[in-house]
Symmetry: C2
Subunit: 261 residues, 2 copies
């Protein structure tokens, strides 16, 4: 049995939506999380920069002795994952492939993708969807304000509601919507209200769990009790704790450590 | 008479609020503008990065044979100007010093400053105000969503109105508000409505004009007619033209050139 932690990497607080799903599936599995809040947002950065900072994040987590790394960031997955994943001795997975696999096995064939400018420009979602699934239609919409809003803690106010309406109003005739940035599940209640219940909202964090299970294989239920996860941020002057409390519904203070990456 | 252009540099569309004021004062003066839209937003970047990219912007403009450079960006002024301005053979001015000089000569002594995270953290406005003016009180408020909203063209909708209310509601008992990011004059009508007419809203672009006059000295009214300004962006897939049309009230298309910087 491998008691090493799972590593998770995001530009900020968004990856905590993936943390929530992985934790639900593997409650006794230790997680080491790195949020690169000092360099947030990734969505407007160049591909070269994203590759460089994703490598730094991965190397930080490897030093923490993790057995698997989840790139819990849409922009880093779409721009850097393919380029970097084979350079390291442990499995590194992103949010696109497990979600595309889920859609392939579902009835969904008219897909909306919302994500950062960087992810939409990379066209990574559309390429992967069309490569793996026949007769699939894809509509893309960049939503550059949503991740900054999530980092500010504006996830359930009128500003968030109106912004979501503004971004989603042009997506017509879809049966599923991929939340292509891990910050976006924070807005799931507002997005569901905007779209109506006939459109499936696809949270990439939920879909990654099966992939994690297939890689880990062993029964992690036997991992020790009272796991203490470690959360590192590259800049601690932010609303991380406030947003995470809303996400996880926890009242206790989460301990944050400062990371220099 | 020096017929060379004035260079202007910003992270995106914000510096066009300074362009508007300089153009009003010097209608026959050619301007070369560089908006670093590929690297926007600057507000969340490190000081080192901002110094490096400001240098690149300055060097691009110097190659265009300008006689003076205006750093028409609050974040680049606060984080990079002092470090870089003496490395080049032409005058380089920012938005802070001319505005502080204006306040010193006014009756205003209870000042609010709104700006990006980077500018507020640098404390550049408060330091300069307190160094130059006795008995001045300063309240700072970072407004990280406003510049991204301006780049999206959300400058006169309900989302912008609510966001401005959210950010400004805590500024109490001020007699003047410095718009410490050049994007913010785009929201001036909404900010004026939120604050009421008893608080002076200070547009740094207006205050920079006197400084430009003092440097240029010569009578630019004799510069040739039909000036064609040049506008360069490092990424042209953006809402620049749409926002500029709202700002300048122009209906004609502005020609944008792509710059690699």
């Amino acid at each position: 049995m491998d008691t090493r932690a799972i590593g998770m990497f995001d530009s900020g607080v968004g990856g905590m939506t993936v943390y929530k799903e992985v934790k639900k599936a593997f409650p006794k599995q230790k997680i080491v999380y790195l949020g690169d809040t000092a360099r947030f947002p990734y969505g407007s950065k160049s591909k070269e920069t994203i590759i460089e900072i994703t490598r730094k994040g991965i190397e930080f987590l490897i030093q923490k002795n993790v057995k698997l790394i989840i790139i819990a960031c849409g922009t880093a997955t779409s721009q850097a994952l393919e380029k970097v994943k084979n350079s390291y001795p442990i499995p590194i997975i992103g949010i696109i492939e497990p979600t595309v696999q889920y859609i392939k096995e579902s009835h969904l064939r008219k897909i909306g993708v919302i994500a950062t400018h960087g992810t939409i420009r990379s066209n990574a979602w559309e390429q992967e969807l069309k490569k793996k699934i026949e007769n699939i239609e894809v509509q893309n919409k960049a939503c550059p304000l949503l991740a900054p809003m999530a980092e500010e803690g504006f996830i359930d106010n009128e500003i968030a509601k109106l912004t979501i309406h503004e971004y989603l109003k042009d997506l017509k005739n879809i049966d599923g919507l991929i939340l292509g940035c891990t910050h976006y599940p924070l807005f799931k209640p507002l997005i569901a209200k905007e779209l109506g219940s006939h459109i499936e909202i696809i949270n990439t964090g939920e879909k990654i769990v099966r992939k994690v299970k297939s890689i880990l294989k062993e029964d992690t239920s036997s991992v020790k009790e009272n796991v203490e996860d470690e959360i590192y941020l590259t800049d601690t002057e932010c609303n991380f704790i406030e947003v995470v409390k809303k996400l996880l519904g926890k009242s206790e203070i989460i301990e944050i450590k400062k990371a220099i990456v």
